[in-house]
């Protein structure tokens, strides 16, 4: 059985500088054999959408630690839609209070991985969802 090729965009949205978690997740994805485009810090919604389109990724993943996930995702959603990226898997992880999960889900984020999520859970979820 050949392993499917999965390409992930992992972005740090907004001004948040806490990238320890994002880099750990990036390494876990690389270890799982995924191709990972890690953006680095300070990505605007426009930059995330543009990179996702240009890189033709299967997964668009955000790592947010500083609380601005909802305003960011509200701006990102129409941009991803406009670029025809609704068939991609949208994920978000980080410091995401339970009270915001429903809103993130309604914005189109299929995978929500708050602090405390296991690395393998993230990897397995991506493998299951990307067909």
């Amino acid at each position: 059985m050949t392993q499917q090729h999965i390409k992930v965009l992992l972005a740090k949205p907004g001004l948040d500088g806490h990238d320890q978690g994002a880099k750990i997740v990036a390494r876990a994805m690389m270890d799982a054999g995924f191709e990972v485009i890690y953006t680095g810090l300070r990505q605007t919604p426009e930059a995330v959408a543009r990179t996702a389109l240009e890189e033709d990724v299967d997964v668009i993943a955000l790592s947010s630690m500083a609380g601005s996930h909802l305003p960011f995702c509200r701006k990102l959603k129409p941009l991803l839609e406009a670029d025809g990226l609704t068939d991609k898997l949208w994920l978000i992880g980080g410091n995401l209070p339970a009270q915001d999960h429903q809103a993130l889900s309604e914005l189109g984020f299929k995978g929500i991985f708050p602090t405390g999520s296991k690395l393998d859970a993230i990897v397995d979820f991506i493998r299951e969802q990307v067909k």
Binding site: G17, H18, Q20, R27, A66, S68, P71, N95
Partner: protein, 541 residues
């Protein structure tokens, strides 16, 4: 005695190696102290090499300063939290700024939308500092500014605010974090490329040495490097490499070491093994003294002092069963006290989730107060000295730090390694391995991989509310200041900032003049970016 297992013979106990990579024995004797280097570096508190403390009487004379990190929303809201903490016995302030302020954006910048006042206090102009510190006696309460990329501007603002209120800047105490090299490794609030960033740190040190000689313009942070995945020995070794880079920048300009080194300070992290932590601080104190004396020719004892805030770090706290973080915090505070810190702070138990409530911040404060009032920790200086284990481990931790510093220099030095993302990749790889070890249970964490409460859905955490109307009010305030200030004076001051950035002059006089004219953080930053450009993050795994 050889404590390593002989081939084919099952050891009586499992080998233990601490995070810094040093083997830990079941028993230590005088022989271990001898073979690790003896007791020649122990000395007495208040005397070179200061292993046992930088002051002779330490807490017997004055307990550590308690300085919880605080700030959110607009300056008036933060002022209320400051007053709450002070009324509860806090003896210093540590100001948290929001991300737009930290990276030099005004509140009306489109990139600041949704981020104003979210993780700290929002500051646009001097007016905000006037509001934030209103009614606070700056002689009695020292203020630490957790600001890095925009530090030169915010230090200028603090000095200008104090001067306006009638304080003598020559006598003003206080601290700014202003450690940009560690921002490139972790925390990420950089603005300018590496070289001009170091120049700005040099400008602040030089300016303060001449105009605000009691002010500590830099607090070199091992703390965030540790949070990013460094071991305790790396945390301190990299911090020393960074401090040396700043000292080199200033001595290159001709400032004698004894005119600035006494105002360099440090910020370190506490979590993990108690003895490894205490020995890290004892070892680091003597190593820094030795570096300043032997490499820089410092003569004043103050120039050799490792003055520090040693703070219970977020890296040790857990999202799971957050109330256990109260207990962890108490142990971290104990370690800090046993380590001879000058200033203490604790991440609060809910800090993995949100900005601490008044309630949780008060618990952290009371934790430190219990140590002072009830536990006898202020009575005797460096009480662990003379323990075979502690003295051996102190020697071994010092050797480990020396080894890491030598390796860093051999690879081209900290500035080069940070610029290329090498240190970042190294600590991040370690953080990944640690996370795997925590998830597998190889590295024990109570509540996470041991003794989980999977059925317990109730987290006793109250989320700090984010109010959009506060952000709008901050923008309104900025617009009001812009309408009221002397626009021609602002333009003149900003032009001077740009001119000095180009000429290579010390930027602080021009920045101080600009903030006094109520130029904003964003406006001054734009002038600097026009000359310096912006940092481009090296992505390296």
């Amino acid at each position: 005695m050889n404590d390593r297992a002989k081939p084919g013979v099952k050891p009586e106990v499992q080998p233990v190696v601490n995070e810094s990579g040093i083997a830990v024995k079941p028993l230590y004797t005088a022989e271990d102290v001898e073979t690790s280097g003896g007791d020649k570096m122990v000395g007495l508190p208040g005397e070179y090499p200061f292993t046992r403390g930088i002051h002779r009487l330490m807490y017997r004379k004055q307990p550590w300063t308690m300085r919880q990190y605080a700030g959110f929303g607009n300056p008036s809201e933060t002022n209320q939290r400051f007053k709450y903490l002070i009324s509860n016995g806090q003896t210093g302030l540590n100001v948290a700024f929001d991300l737009p302020t930290q990276i030099g954006l005004d509140s009306d910048d489109p990139l600041a939308e949704g981020e104003i006042g979210r993780v700290g206090m929002s500051v646009d102009t001097l007016r905000d500092f006037e509001l934030a510190f209103e009614g606070i006696d700056l002689d009695r309460i020292t203020v630490s500014l957790t600001i890095n990329g925009a530090a030169a501007i915010l230090i200028a603002m603090y000095l200008a605010m104090a001067e306006k209120r009638g304080y003598d800047v020559n006598k003003l105490r206080g601290t700014a974090q202003n450690d940009i090299l560690k921002e490139f490794i972790g925390r990420g609030t950089w603005i300018f490329p590496v070289e001009p960033s170091i120049r700005l740190v040099g400008d602040t040190i030089e300016y303060c040495a001449r105009h605000a000689p009691k002010y500590s313009p830099v607090s070199v942070c091992g703390y965030h490097i540790r949070e990013s995945g460094a071991t305790p020995a790396q945390e301190m070794a990299y911090a020393f490499c960074i401090a040396k880079a700043y000292a080199d920048e200033v001595t290159r300009r001709g400032l004698p070491v004894d005119e600035f080194a006494g105002r360099l300070s440090y910020n370190f992290n506490i979590f993990g093994n108690i003895f490894e932590q205490v020995c890290k601080f004892r070892a680091g104190r003597s190593l820094w003294a030795k570096i300043m004396k032997e490499e820089y020719g410092a003569e004043q004892p103050g120039s050799m002092w490792l003055r520090m805030i040693a703070a219970g770090g977020g890296g040790g706290l857990t999202f799971e069963q957050p109330e256990l973080n109260i207990v962890r915090g108490a142990y971290y505070a104990l370690i800090s006290a046993l380590s001879g810190t000058q200033t203490m702070a604790l991440c609060s138990y809910d800090e993995a989730y949100t900005i601490p409530t008044e309630y949780s911040a008060r618990i952290s404060l009371r934790t430190m107060q219990i140590l002072i009032e009830e536990m006898g920790l202020t009575e005797t200086v460096d009480p662990l000295a003379g323990s075979y284990y502690v003295e051996t481990m102190t020697n071994q931790m010092r050797d480990k730090m020396v080894e890491i510093m030598a390796e860093t220099d051999a690879q081209g030095g900290i500035v080069k390694l940070v610029s290329e993302g090498v240190i970042q990749a190294k600590v991040s790889a370690q953080a990944y391995r640690m996370q795997r070890d925590i998830e597998s249970g190889a590295f024990p964490k109570v509540g996470v991989n041991r003794y989980r409460n999977d059925s317990d859905e109730e987290h006793p955490v109250e989320f700090h509310p984010y109010r959009e109307e506060d952000a709008r009010r901050q923008v309104d305030n900025l617009n009001r200041v812009r309408a009221e200030r002397d626009a021609r004076e602002v333009a003149r001051c900003l032009a001077q900032v740009g001119a000095d950035a180009r000429s290579g002059a010390n930027l602080m006089p021009a920045i101080v003049a600009a903030v006094k004219a109520y130029a904003s953080v964003g406006e001054i930053t734009r002038e600097l970016v026009a000359v310096f450009g912006r940092y481009r993050e090296p992505i390296r795994f």
